[in-house]
């Protein structure tokens, strides 16, 4: 079914979502991909705070192309989520509720999603121009030196995605 959801997302809402649901996300999401995840893991291992409060939030695995003048962002589609698998269970245990990416997740991530009532959305890979239209503001909030891999706070309006793995572990990629 089609659903309108707000981000940050409360856990009860996240737990109602089911694999196969089409969602339109409005609100705030944060971007982080390979290098930002590595740095967040390093930060946590040193006992320090993450650059944003991860509780109830959604991370979008995305590194945009540069914005032209007068635009909030360039092309902005999802990257392959499995490269973040190594770092993800720890973030889920800290309260991360949603992830937007593309492609498969490993069993450890899915277990951590079930344990924490989290949800994994897929945006359409390779539709970066289309998806950029749902992003109305973008601000680098951490790791500026990482360029496209910096952490960005995005304001999104009706960002389209599909629930691929829900909090019960149902997985749209593994349909029979």
């Amino acid at each position: 079914m089609d659903r309108e959801i707000c981000a940050p997302i409360d856990k009860e809402m996240a737990m109602q979502l089911r694999a196969g649901d089409m969602v339109y996300i409005t609100g705030t999401v944060y971007t982080a991909r390979d290098a930002a995840h590595k740095r967040m893991a390093q930060t946590l291992s040193e006992g320090k705070e993450l650059p944003f409060d991860i509780k109830g939030n959604i991370i979008y695995y995305m590194g945009p192309s540069p914005a032209r003048e007068g635009r909030p962002i360039g092309s902005a589609g999802p990257t392959t989520a499995s490269r973040m698998d190594k770092y993800t269970p720890e973030l889920l245990d800290l309260g991360l509720v949603g992830m937007i990416g593309k492609g498969k997740r490993n069993p450890e991530v899915i277990e951590a999603m079930k344990r924490n009532g989290a949800v994994y959305f897929a945006a359409i890979g390779g539709a970066g121009a289309l998806l950029s239209k749902a992003i109305v503001e973008s601000e680098v909030i951490a790791y500026d030196d990482l360029g496209t891999e910096a952490i960005r706070k995005l304001r999104v309006e009706r960002f389209p995605a599909i629930v691929v793995i829900d909090s019960l572990g149902n997985n749209l990629y593994e349909r029979k």
Partner: protein
């Protein structure tokens, strides 16, 4: 002997970088439109319609089709009657990449050292394959390669006894393993023969062939059609969410090989299979 100033190369490369990342070649656009008509899954059809819309937005608003504007891969055919003046050819190509990726608002996705991983800031260096040919012209083909699909590519060093069946199984296995990660519908570039590195280069170059064109070798053309059919019967579908169109094309290039070997490389490309050429 014909003189070509390398500044002409830089200018051509810059324009190719920008063009290839904002508009697909007509063959790829046609493949996408055909797929949207043929797809049997409702969700798959919807996704393909969105990819069509994505292409239109990219071209109209000058937003890259995909944010991963790739590592710039080139196939350069240099006529042996050409004499380059004004600098080094390879430097001129890299300068074109630098200008194209900077002035064209393309993403800089290259790190200088694979382990230290510091971004070079201008998407250089490119990966350049040169071929020396007859004549006094230079043909430049760019194929910016995104890594979602590059990461799902494989090399199989098969045995001669594995034969054609082994090759078919290897291709299909690579596609199954890639699944949703490679942003299907894919184009599957295959190299058969040569050596370890030669088959990989063949597979990469096969991706620059026009979608819908087949090998001139009848037995290979046959294999391309049959393997495509097998891949499309897997049900992976658009975005890996199920459907009848998993690949647009299987393009196979071959080369003679050693009596002891049957190398096979499978270079997978997403639906944004960018390639553009210019002849100087």
């Amino acid at each position: 002997m014909r003189n070509i100033d390398v500044s002409e190369i830089t200018e051509a490369v810059k324009n190719l970088c920008i063009d290839a990342n904002h508009t697909l070649s007509p063959d790829m656009e046609k493949a996408l439109y055909n797929a949207a008509d043929e797809e049997t899954s409702e969700l798959g059809k919807k996704i393909l319609e969105q990819l069509k819309e994505n292409l239109q937005i990219a071209g109209n608003d000058m937003i890259p089709i995909c944010q991963d504007t790739g590592m710039a891969v080139f196939f350069i055919k240099v006529g042996q009657e050409v004499h380059f003046t004004g600098g080094c050819l390879t430097d001129a190509i890299n300068e074109g990449v630098r200008q194209g990726y900077t002035e064209g608002y393309l993403r800089k996705s290259v790190v200088s050292d694979p382990l230290i991983r510091k971004n070079t800031g201008d998407n250089t260096p490119a990966v350049i394959h040169y071929d020396i040919v007859q004549g006094d012209q230079v043909e430049i083909t760019i194929a910016p390669k995104g890594f979602g699909s590059e990461n799902m590519s494989r090399v199989f060093m098969l045995k001669p006894a594995d034969g054609e069946e082994g090759v078919r199984n290897a291709i299909v296995q690579a596609v199954l393993d890639a699944g949703p990660n490679a942003c299907p519908p894919m184009v599957v570039g295959v190299g058969i023969g040569g050596t370890f590195e030669k088959c990989a280069e063949l597979a990469k170059e096969a991706l620059t062939r026009k979608a819908g064109e087949h090998s001139k070798l009848p037995h290979i053309a046959e294999m391309e059609k049959e393997v495509l059919e097998t891949i499309n019967s897997t049900g992976i579908g658009p975005a890996g969410l199920g459907g009848s169109v998993t690949a647009f094309a299987v393009n196979i290039n071959t080369y003679p090989t050693h009596i002891a070997g049957l190398p096979v490389a499978v270079n997978i490309c997403c639906h944004v299979n960018r390639h553009a050429s210019v002849v100087l």
